[in-house]
Amino acid sequence: MKTYRENGVGIVDSLYKDTNKTKWSLKEKLLLGLTPQQYIGQALRNPFNWLLAAIFAVGIPIILGRFIFGLGWVTHSSNDYPWGMFLGFGLFAMVPLSSSGFQLGTTCEVFGRHDFEPIERLGLLNGLLGYLFAVIYLMVDLGQPWRLPYPMVVSFGPAAVLFLVAWHVATYLSVQVAEVSVAFFEWIGFPMGKRGVRKITLGLTVAGIILSTLHQGALGALFTYAPGKVHPLWYSASFQWLHFFVSSLPGGLCMVIAVSTIARKTMTWRLDKNFNDNLDKLTIALAKGASMGLATYLTIKLIGIAHDNKWEYLATGWGQWFMFEIFFGVILPLGLFAYAIRNEKVGLVRFAAFMTVFGVVLNRVNTAMITFNWKLAEREIPHWREVLISITIFAIYITVYRFILYRLPILFQWKTADEPVEELATAKAGASYSVADGSATLGTYRSKVESPLSPNSYTTMNDGE
């Protein structure tokens, strides 16, 4: 991609490609403004694509096989460990890492912290995709996935926590689709839709907070059905839902830090100045939030142990594993955050964010799989096909994530004005910015810079070559 940019191929970041107001066609938008040959050429040059292709070549036939030969073919068909990697990793770990959607939504829309806007959409998208793929993992795991709508329409089990999870995840997924659709409407050129969604943003965001609080907690509460099976150190009747909810907060924020770090490294061409300039500052701000969350989590984790007086378990082998999780997933990142935030070491913040993500995933996998049935002698080691399917779905997740980041205005601002009323008002501001900068990017005003201005940036860039 970089090579083409250097050769002066325009980036699709507005509806129009040049001063004549010719619109990018849908095909051009999908191909990132490249010709089909160029597009395939750059895709083939990327070694990561080859890795993905290799995973898909092996994994997709196995996923199809799961639906032809049944769950017994891909898992160890364990009656003692009914939930394997698909739920232990796929559902229980993806959902907390997706709490970024409601947190950044809340920050920007409810608390009016518009300084977080450059990263808000990444947070929303991260939430949407995480949930979507958690549901996809679930679909693979369910015995009869075609009956997934049953709790909505056919038969209700309202005393079940899972009933709440099903309803909330379904509702929240729709809420997130609506929130992210703003970016899609900009990209496709449908200002009506965007305006419609903007009107109900506050409602959507508050709905997001409610639904998230409840189902993040509900995922934890699912394990209160198995008080004798989950190891006491990972179980607490009173605190289980709080543990899951509170740890999802730093989990989601750190996931956004992690994704933005990867995006900055691998898709530099796609970030605009606004995102790039604000990223370090925002990373530290997010890390502050995450460390508050981690501190709270650590406290209630310890209170949970003290509440049921489970200290004696710490001396066992399980206890060491527990301390490993808490040390590397909570305490160490907390310490690193404290040091790095104080000294503004963004790199270290990012490293600690990756550790936090690891810690949250480890906690979920521990609760759902590793320490589950701790009283039984036999531990369940997932079938190799189960592992491969999990990896494949994760690879699809990465592919879809990247596909969207390349195209929709998530990491950059769409430069086409779609609100005619504000167009005039901001045109001046936009102009002054472009003069001042004189370079590729057009100031930090949100998607309100008048269209004829944006092509300037391309010409500048092309001239420069």
């Binding site: 017994g72 518009h114 209700f156």
Partner: protein, 309 residues
Amino acid sequence: MKRRDFLKGCLMCGAATSLGISNKAWGAGSFEGYPEAMGVLVDLTRCIGCRSCEAACNKEQRLPEPKVSFDDQSVFKEKRRPDENAYTVVNRYETASEGKTVHRKIQCNHCNEPACLTSCFVNAYTKTKEGAVIYNSKICVGCRNCMIACPFNVPGYSYSSAINPIVKKCIFCYDTRVKFGRPPACVEICPQEVLTFGYRKDLIKMGHERIRETPDKYVDHLYGEKEVGGTGWLYLSGVPFEQVGFDTTLGNDPIISNVKEFLGTVPMVLAIWPALFTGFHLLSTRNKGHEGGHGHDAHSKSEQEDAKK
């Protein structure tokens, strides 16, 4: 079933759907079992491990032919559990108490407040007034939460089926026998009178009677009388229960009572959050319009918001 109708009414109301869920906490009252519930008293001291109950169950429930025939004792080498091919299994325990060999039959205990039932999000399980916990395979989605929830590790899943995998567990021969007042197949065939079928309340009395009459023979405990809210199947043993594979750490509360603390928070969140957060919004954007907005001093609920000030 007025409550259920009410819930359904709520759920039908489009936008109100998520709110309707809050009423779920009602599903968890303290329930002591139907008065006419039947049960089985199992006297482990009488069992000789002949496995005829396994054979009878296999025939009654039309389960597949087993790999090892029912008169083969070699299955006792390992500890088995009920699965899709066997709703009941007998295990042998060489116990520490005077080297006694004890056999124990495992099947669904038909709890008064079944964890499988309360954890099921499509209500596939029913506790009948006769005391059986039965299962509707037509609506089961296959989440297997019931298998997670069952404190006795009873439900099995037919993982081998791709098209129609379902939960397989003992249903107390409900359709064919218990519904008509007849004892289940395993009870009827037992040659040693290990199993006694009757009203649960009578069996409790009978169990305590036996302990009282021959206190040397039994441990002074009727397993299932109180465990996880009481079970339809009750056990007498001559050796401590934990030596023959019983989980004695389950406690006397039904599983659902662990979940109540969370369910209790649901209405609170639903009622308070909207007002709280729209309030924060009004406070933090006051005098600013929607465009400005740097710095806010609302006392935020979630700590990460505080941190960002």
